[in-house]
């Protein structure tokens, strides 16, 4: 019987490019427990949002994540548009959809490469990232920047798309389509991939639902769920596409789901380019500052299907020119519990690919910072200030964790509702 050992990994480590720390409890080669600390990238964006105008916040929130930046701006501007009662013109909705799908393509191709790298299949890495350049070129031509496209503005989009760009994107998508067929045929059938991914990191459908997994991670476990279908935004109610699911819940299933989603994205882009309506780009010719001057107070919850799953922005307006609160719930945060679930029982060597399996984005996730007090004195300090187990990343206004009163309420609720559990 092997002895239990704790292995700390990170925050600087070779497998992921972002800082994250994993403490693995192992027995021999097998992982028996895992603890994650994932808030090294906490920058305090939700606090900064409150000191900036709605217009400035588009560009700040865009920089939550450099991979799914369009997701964050779309979710935010949609919320603000709801507060203002603006209806976005058709052409703008289509351009948003176009950029969103290009973003999904680049994100999934990026993941495909990283997944290849994690299992030591660097050829796939180089292939996927080479093909990804076609998408990056399209985004650059369309918006002017490779990352952080800033195409969204309140009430519409900033840039129009001309016929030359449309033709260029069409050509690239045709080429990319062939490459995706090639991946679909070769990658899941490749022996290296099968050996490393089949029956590794399995999350059953029931566990995926219980742990509230989202996006391709949930869909690979057979959970139907896609905001694009459930609550269509932009132009998704006017395009035809399938929600891809798989049954097995292992890494091979996630690989399969993501590659098939690539094909769906290409199909959506082709439809958007074919049906692009003529018309205005913005809801109103007034400058956005003038529109925002009339913002009502109220709450709004905006949902969006980011490449990694469902993203929600909660926006509370108090009628002033800065939002009172913006809370961001990112898909990666929802998916972390499945990682802990999948790590238990797997081998140490599988850690990188199991972690990479949910396509983690630490810069997205680092919204909160909860730490357990190390000793009595620290705990006493924390109790005095009314906050338990919260590190410096919380603020006075928004401690980001439980206060003692919250904990008490939670405890009462838990014990009283015991018979229903």
């Amino acid at each position: 019987m092997a002895e239990e050992t704790t292995i700390p990994i990170g925050p600087q480590h070779p497998s992921l490019k972002e800082p994250a720390n994993f403490e693995l409890t192992v027995e021999g080669e097998q992982i028996t427990g895992a603890e994650l600390s994932i808030s090294y990238n906490h920058r305090g964006i939700e606090q900064a949002v409150r000191s900036k105008s709605y217009l400035e916040n588009i560009y700040l929130l865009e920089r939550i994540c450099g991979i799914c930046s369009h997701s964050h701006t779309t979710a935010f501007v949609r919320g603000v548009e709801q507060l203002l009662g603006l209806s976005v013109p058709d052409r703008a909705r289509y351009v948003r959809t176009l950029v969103a799908e290009l973003e999904r393509l680049h994100s999934h191709l990026l993941w495909l490469g990283v997944a290849g790298h994690e299992i030591g299949f660097d050829t796939l890495w180089q292939y996927a990232w080479r093909d990804r350049e076609a998408v990056m070129d399209s985004l650059e031509e369309l918006t002017g920047n490779r990352v952080h496209y800033s195409i969204n503005t309140i009430g519409g989009v900033r840039e129009d798309i001309d016929t030359e760009t449309i033709d260029a994107i069409r050509d690239r998508m045709a080429e990319l389509s062939d490459r995706i067929d090639f991946y679909l045929e070769t990658v899941p059938a490749e022996r290296t991939v099968q050996l490393r991914c089949e029956d590794v990191g399995v999350v059953s459908k029931q566990r995926a639902q219980e742990l509230c997994a989202v996006g391709p991670t949930a869909r690979a476990s057979g959970v139907q769920g896609d905001v694009r279908k459930d609550e269509p935004y932009a132009a998704y109610d006017e395009v035809d596409f399938e929600v891809i699911t798989a049954e097995d819940g292992d890494l091979l299933a996630r690989l399969q789901v993501r590659i098939e989603e690539l094909a769906e994205s290409v199909a959506i882009i082709e439809q958007v380019l074919a049906d692009l309506p003529e018309g205005e780009l913005k809801a109103s010719q007034k400058p956005p500052q003038a529109l925002l001057a009339g913002i009502e107070s109220g709450d709004v919850l905006s949902r969006y299907e980011a490449p990694r799953g469902e993203l929600t922005h909660f926006i509370r307006s108090d009628g002033s020119d800065t939002p009172e609160r913006v809370h961001v719930r990112v898909p990666t945060l929802a998916n972390w519990p499945t990682v802990v679930e999948a790590l238990k029982g797997s081998y140490i060597a599988d850690t990188p690919i199991v972690v990479a399996g949910i396509d983690p984005c630490i810069s997205c996730t680092s919204r909160i910072g909860v730490a357990v007090a190390e000793d009595e004195a620290t705990l006493a300090d924390a109790t005095d200030s009314g906050v338990v187990g919260v590190d410096e990343s919380g603020t006075d206004d928004d401690p980001g964790g439980y206060t003692l009163d919250d904990l008490r309420e939670y405890g009462i609720e838990w014990y009283e509702g015991g018979d229903t559990r």
């Binding site: 972002e18 808030s39 900064a48 920089r63 990352v147 952080h148």
Partner: protein, 173 residues
Amino acid sequence: MGKLLEWARSASPWILHLNCGSCNGCDIETLDSLMPRYDLERFGVLKKDTPRHADVLVCTGPVTRQMEPRLERIYEQMPEPKLVVAAGSCAASGGVFQDCYSCHDGVDEVIPVDMYVPGCPISPEALIDGLVRLLEESGEGGKASRLRERSEGIFEDSDAPAGVIDDEHVADT
């Protein structure tokens, strides 16, 4: 000895990339510059996974408070002579995260920086240009003599402690 190091480094600089609270944009672009399209590897640039093998540290992000001690430690672990590139607007000045309670305003608040590459995010071309200029400037005829002095400090002049940063030369670079 300084010449040997200089030759080896400019022929094949090994880089370590560290995300100090960046949004991923610059990190992906840094990796992208090593990928088939830009292919920095053909110039001998290799991405290393450990600070002990690296010549150049490419930092991205405004340096969050949690990453600060880690960044310092990784900088200390790198062998002399070492060069630091602050990649992206955040790493150079804090960018959009200026004045955030959990961030510094750039890498140079924590460790000395030799080259700033602007952009939000940096384009791979900008990073390649930055690296080439950095290696040129740190070379024999360049104006950044700090590096040479440091390496001399290690191998020849035992009076000068290695790793001590001379303010005058930092201002030069």
